[in-house]
């Protein structure tokens, strides 16, 4: 291999683009060859320009630390991650299956509770979850669809097996970067797209809009944002613009006579469905947290009585709770009578005494995660932690066994990544997005590949120094 690739070496794990050193995987060959024709300096230059454009356009997210929110761009790596079309069709089936099962589960645990009666999932796992929402017990949303937009995080281990690392069934973010990254990479490699046949991602906004509208066609759909200080505000504006709908804040809406109305310069206009990017607790100060300034008083009542559809439904958090996650394969078997196509990462619930003992004895080899947090916050990676951290983690687990799960460290696959003009291996994960509004789920081809830009790092979250890549799914068997 020439140029860029001469020094590319990822060690003993699994690389997404190369089978063995110097030999690209068949579906990545065209890309690897095209890249080897380019000069690293020229690519770096294009990358800098793309990032400057992102800053001036305000394509940013906000990082929260103890002091204050700082606006940053989400670093974009120009080397795409490619997924073979045949592998993807299996992944797609697995994702549809999983999302269907999660939706069945949500409908069930808030209504008939068959899965609990059958003893498949212990009652306390469900009912003790802080994400189990009492307010929607006995409620059925339109088309029995709960998690309309899910982001299912996948990781690949050293032997090439893909696992589901976690489910995100509340308000998963990141899809705007998928769409933006595609625009950036088509600008950078215009000719490559004619050589490699890549599944397009541009249908997302249309499919999303259709799904949201289907749930209640009586009035326009809107996107509800917490406002400009939210870390994903850029995404909210982007999606509203792409869907062609209004981006509203809580104060733009009012509830009257069971309908949600938006305040416009031409009067109050009834809204059909609300794609809300506000958590359940902040959605309605009357029904949930009184101190919420972001929500819409009375929207929950309007929702329960069918006056408005909410996307995602209220209460979906119980489906992506990290204590519920270990049961998803059984859930799939219970509701669909099928085996899970994409396996879970083996998970120890520290709430169970035996598992807890094992975890405490093997902290050094495990990854410990808080059950009720996201964004990579609070994750402790045993093999990379010092004694002090492990001791504190053990203390926390003993004090609050319900609050954690542990998993073996997955040696995340690598993908060539451009750092300072050199192509180097960096670890990646994948967040595909699935849309469901009754009927068959729709999967966005590919999804968001996040990359840990620091050498040796396993944490890909944007809040922890991660970046992203465009993800190409090559056309499958067809």
């Amino acid at each position: 291999m020439d140029g860029l690739w001469r020094t590319y070496d990822w060690g003993t794990g699994y690389d997404e683009l190369f089978a063995t050193p110097g030999v690209p995987r068949p579906h990545a060959r065209a890309l690897v060859e095209a890249l080897s024709r380019l000069d690293a300096g020229a690519i770096e230059d294009r990358k800098r320009r793309a990032e400057l454009a992102m800053l001036n356009l305000g394509i940013t997210f906000t990082v929260y630390s103890e002091s204050s929110g700082v606006e940053r761009i989400f670093p974009f790596d120009l080397v795409p991650r490619i997924i073979d079309g045949n592998e993807w069709s299996r992944v797609e089936k697995g994702l549809k299956q999983r999302v269907l099962a999660l939706n069945h589960f949500l409908q069930d645990v808030y209504n008939e509770r068959k899965i609990i009666d059958a003893g498949v999932i212990p009652a306390d796992v469900v009912y003790n979850s802080p994400n189990y929402q009492q307010a929607v017990v006995g409620f059925t949303p339109p088309k029995q669809a709960w998690a309309h937009i899910s982001g299912i995080d996948l990781v690949r281990d050293a032997d090439g097996t893909l696992y589901v690392l976690e489910d995100n069934a509340r308000t998963p973010s990141g899809v705007s970067y998928v769409l933006q990254n595609r625009i950036l990479s088509t600008r950078t490699f215009p000719s490559l797209f004619s050589e490699v046949s890549v599944e397009r991602v541009s249908d997302y906004a249309r499919v999303l809009h259709d799904a949201v509208r289907t749930l209640n066609p009586d009035g326009p759909a809107v996107v509800l944002t917490p406002g400009i200080y939210n870390s994903a505000y850029f995404e909210h504006t982007y999606l509203a613009k792409q869907m062609g709908v209004q981006l509203v804040e809580g104060r733009d809406l009012a509830v009257r006579h069971g309908r949600v109305l938006m305040k416009t310069t031409r009067g109050m206009i009834p809204v059909g469905s609300v794609y809300r990017r506000i958590d359940d607790e902040f959605l309605d100060p009357v029904a949930f947290r009184e101190d919420s300034m972001l929500g819409v008083p009375g929207i929950f009542q309007a929702y329960r009585s069918g006056g408005v559809a909410l996307v995602n439904a209220i209460g979906t958090g119980v489906a992506d709770d990290k204590s519920v996650y270990p049961y998803v394969p059984e859930m799939i078997r219970f509701y669909l009578g099928e085996d899970a196509i994409i396996p879970n990462v083996p998970t120890y619930r520290t709430a169970e005494e035996k598992a807890r003992e094992y975890v405490l004895a093997h902290l050094r080899d495990l990854v410990v995660k808080p059950t009720n947090a996201s964004g990579g916050y609070g994750v402790v990676i045993g093999p990379q932690s010092d004694e002090e951290t492990l001791r504190k983690t053990a203390e926390q687990i003993r004090a609050n066994p319900e609050g954690f799960v542990a998993q073996p460290l997955i040696r995340l696959s690598t993908c060539p990544t451009l750092i300072d003009g050199q192509v180097v291996p960096r670890r990646v994960d994948l967040r595909p997005f699935v849309i469901y509004s009754g009927g068959e789920p729709w999967v966005l081809p590919g999804g968001l590949t996040r990359v840990a830009l620091r050498e040796g790092s396993f944490i890909v979250n944007s809040s922890q120094g991660g970046g992203s890549k465009d993800t190409w799914v090559t056309h499958g068997a067809a």
Binding site: N56, T265, R266
Partner: protein
């Protein structure tokens, strides 16, 4: 697609904030360069240039409430970078950017980038930098940024309802500022007949014309020179000069007419009635009658009417200062 009231309001204020930053920069620049010109320290009641500038901007009471003095350093700091002053240049631009962010899905990319650039450029500025580079460069960059913004707004945005709201906000602010600029003569020099026509008087009117980029246009059309009556007529009543009070108010009325076209007549009429009252006042006024009745009193009345237009717009279209339930019934019936 109907425009959200909040979006209309943010666009209105976006226009106002950018214009406010620009006008503050213009006034500062003129005051700064006027330091070496003759003054009237001897005249009873006259204020120094900096104190007069604070008074012009309507900030006199707030400003002297603190420890500040009427020194150049204090005033420049207060008007450029001070975070305590919500209408300092830096505060105005952060508010402009905040408004722009909250409606960025409605702005053209060029418009958003223009606001964002101005913000990034000034939020990094600090008083030492302004001192070192000279105030002129700072003020000039604000003016240039505002022109770029205006160009992007006119040249790249859809001229739809939102655009008209932005223009309305800009024109309200510009009109208000013209009244303040003309009125600043009153603060500089309490009118006494002896001073009219003096060199100091002529210098001051010249400076005012410069602050609205009107000096060149004025001298080209007024061979008689810089005389009080002619300048007042030019700045207040001349329909052809784009920064005259009358031109601003006419542009404001036009923007409001377009922005409210097709709206509930009750809401629309409230706004247009208030705005048209102002146009009529200016259209059928002569400079003689205006000066006879007292320039300061006249400008005061115009400022009150402008504030009234803003209130009516807020109540009828932005859902602020209004009883919400009453609004909803109005719209439903």
């Amino acid at each position: 697609m109907a425009l959200l009231s909040r979006v209309a309001e943010s666009l209105f204020w976006l226009g106002r904030y950018v214009e406010r930053a620009e006008n503050t920069a213009r006034l500062l620049d003129v005051a700064y360069h006027g330091r070496f010109e003759p003054t009237d320290q001897g005249v009873a009641g006259a204020l120094n240039t900096w104190e007069a500038l604070i008074a012009t901007l309507g900030l006199h009471d707030v400003y002297f409430d603190g420890e500040r003095t009427a020194s150049e350093a204090d005033v420049v700091h207060y008007l450029t970078v001070s975070a305590e002053n919500s209408s300092s240049i830096v505060s105005s631009l952060s508010q402009a950017r905040e408004a722009a962010r909250s409606v960025r899905d409605f702005l053209s990319s060029e418009t958003w980038v223009a606001v964002n650039r101005m913000y990034h450029a000034t939020s990094r500025a600090n008083i030492q930098l302004i001192k070192a580079d000279g105030l002129y460069d700072f003020c000039d960059s604000i003016r240039q940024g505002a022109h770029l913004f205006a160009g992007a707004v006119d040249g790249t945005a859809l001229h739809d309802e939102g655009w008209h709201w932005l223009r309305a906000g800009l024109m309200v602010e510009r009109a208000d500022m013209v009244t303040r600029i003309v009125d600043s003569k009153y603060h500089l020099l309490l009118q006494s007949l002896d001073d009219i026509g003096s060199p100091v008087d002529r210098y001051q009117w010249g400076a005012l014309l410069r602050s609205v980029s009107g000096y060149e246009a004025f001298v080209r059309t007024h061979v008689g020179g810089v005389e009080t009556e002619a300048v007042v007529e030019f700045l207040v009543l001349n329909p052809a000069f784009p920064r005259s009070l009358r031109a601003c108010v006419e542009a404001l009325v036009e923007a409001l007419q377009e922005a409210t076209a097709g709206a509930d007549p009750r809401a629309r009429n409230r706004v247009l009635k208030a705005a048209n009252g102002l146009t009529n006042r200016l259209r059928y006024e002569t400079v003689e009658s205006l000066l006879d009745g007292g320039l300061h009193e006249y400008l005061d009345a115009v400022q009150i009417e402008l504030a009234n237009v803003t209130d009516e717009v807020g109540a009828a279209f932005f859902w602020t200062n209004a009883d919400e339930s009453e609004q909803i019934q109005t719209q439903a019936s």
